[in-house]
């Protein structure tokens, strides 16, 4: 299993290289660089701009610049933000925990809600509950996350307020109330709306998936065998069937990780959540490409890492799987 993990990690290296080359040349070949506004500024002389370009190495041929960038990156240095004059490493490092909090909390909520729904739907298929849930999940899958987020803001911040104090029910910006930085309860309160917005689509998708996975498994031989041996229907259902139905979910989650991060980008933008998505959005508006490239590469590494983890988890959960 260790050799398998090592091989998987080695396989991802060419992937990361392809990604980095494509992105670097794309971003750097665009004419509207970070110095566009400086060029338009009449107070900045041509000599000053040339001096900045020289200092940042923007005049070297692109392959040389790429070589320098990838060399630095391999040493763990993502460069310097052009807009904030801060190391990209620091900027990303302070955002990662916030994104992971948001994504982690949504993921947890998704599993807590989706697994029971999927299970109960498959327990009594074509019942009223099943039909209701099928409809709800269809709706949940069709709602765009940005509209849902905006809707939650309108309902729980603009329209509904505490009748006594006239304070909105939930905060909609940032991670903490001013003066309460680092208070976990306050952060939890700030998490409610963003996590709801991010989770609904996933709850719909996973409960539907688990339902159909359960329905498939219930026709398997080992389920029939367990029934024939006189196991109670609950035991067959929750022990034999559920254990096997949940397995494919692990692979699915690994495949869905990029989309989960994409959803987080929208939610962070809407709710001013200080995570990597918000950082990326700001950097894209300001054409701050060291930050852009840094965030994409870190996210790609993070996703590939989680994928390998999911593969290994699958093998641990299902002893039938052998790593070649």
């Amino acid at each position: 299993m260790t050799t398998y993990a090592i091989r998987r990690i080695l396989q991802t290296i060419p992937i990361l290289f392809i990604i980095s080359i494509l992105l670097f040349f794309l971003v750097r070949s665009a004419p509207g660089g970070p110095l566009t506004s400086a060029r338009r500024n009449p107070n900045v002389t041509k000599e000053q701009i040339e001096a900045i370009e020289e200092k940042l190495g923007l005049n070297d041929p692109l392959p040389v610049q790429y070589g320098r960038w990838i060399g630095d990156m391999l040493k763990g240095n993502l460069g310097q933000s052009i807009k904030f004059h801060r190391p990209v490493n620091d900027m990303i490092a302070e955002r990662i925990p916030n994104t992971l909090t948001l994504v982690g909390a949504s993921f947890l909520l998704t599993l807590i809600v989706a697994i029971p729904i999927g299970m109960l739907s498959a327990r009594k298929p074509y019942s009223v509950f099943d039909y209701a849930m099928t409809t709800v999940t269809f709706i949940g899958q069709s709602i765009p996350v940005y509209w849902l987020g905006l809707g939650l803001i309108v309902i729980f911040y603009v329209l509904l307020k505490n009748p006594v104090t006239d304070v909105p029910f939930f905060p909609v910006g940032g991670m903490n109330t001013r003066g309460k930085e680092g208070d976990p309860l306050d952060t939890l309160w700030h998490l409610v709306l963003p996590v709801t917005a991010l989770s609904l689509g996933w709850i719909a998708w996973y409960s539907r998936f688990l339902r159909s996975s359960m329905m498939d498994v219930l026709h398997e031989d080992y389920v029939r065998t367990a029934k024939a041996k006189g196991a109670s229907s609950n035991s067959v259902y929750y022990k034999h069937a559920l254990q096997n139905a949940i397995l494919p979910l692990v692979t699915l989650i690994a495949l869905d990780l990029p989309s989960l991060f994409a959803g987080a980008l929208f939610v962070e933008t809407i709710f001013s959540w200080p995570g990597m998505g918000r950082l990326f959005w700001d950097a894209a508006k300001g054409r701050d490409y060291p930050v852009l490239l840094g965030v994409v590469m870190i996210t790609a590494v993070l996703i590939i890492f989680c994928n390998i983890l999911a593969d290994l988890a699958y093998g641990w959960l299902d002893p039938r799987v052998k790593y070649e």
């Binding site: 992937i15 992105l23 794309l26 309108v154 603009v158 991060f261």
Partner: protein
Amino acid sequence: MARVILRRFFKHKLAGIAIAVLALLILASAFAFTTPYSPTNQEPTNSFQKSNADHWFGTDELGRDVFTRILYGGRVSLTVGLFSTFLSIALGVLVGALSGYFGGWIDSVLMRITDAFLTFPTIFVLIILGAFLREQQVPWLKNSVLIVIIIIAALSWMWPARLVRGLFLVLREREFVTASRALGGSSARIIIQHILPNCIGPIVVSGTLQMASAIITESGLSYLGFGVQPPTPTWGSILATAQNQVFRAPWIAFYPGLMIFITVMAINYIGDGLRDAFDPYVVHAEK
């Protein structure tokens, strides 16, 4: 066969309704010019009206009729959805067919590339592409609708590619393929005339999923400011401007999102109906 599929499709009542809804949306945005208002003309004295008989969905901060803007926005969303789906399916079928039929090193190379794209946080790349392609000095790339169609297709062909590869892996071992090869059929002939027609069902179903997600992606991209550029109205950009006015006029945010939601839901139900219609087991049971 086609008749059987059509009959089965319309047995799925919600899918039938969904087709009608989608047709209505397409017609309404095609005939958007019949409303008495312009989607871009500003009438600042007329801003922030709630919905009334003259302005069904009210007016926005610049006094533009929201209903008219939404109809015109529908043109963009539906166009992008349709064409990026065609493009991504075409690319995906090409990659999947080559990969699944020939196997070997072709398969390894193509699937490595597919994996690279799959593990990728697509929205990040979409934003980078959206932001930087527009600044290139290439005249035909000035059209932001075209850019959005191309970049959505370029980052979504992997799912149809995997699907088609899987189907080809199974079908290439079947007797009719061996027979055709024994009769001297060329690879191209076997792929196009013998294997591909057997993949139509799953491809069409995955096409509906692609279209739904393309519409959500386009709107999201425009919402973030990196998609289709103003003054062209799109559902995403209307939603973005509505967000800035959410305290003064929360109702404006409601309509564009509702349109995205209805469209995506209709397409999803059509996909559901098509899945039932193409399911070979159901067809056999009926015979």
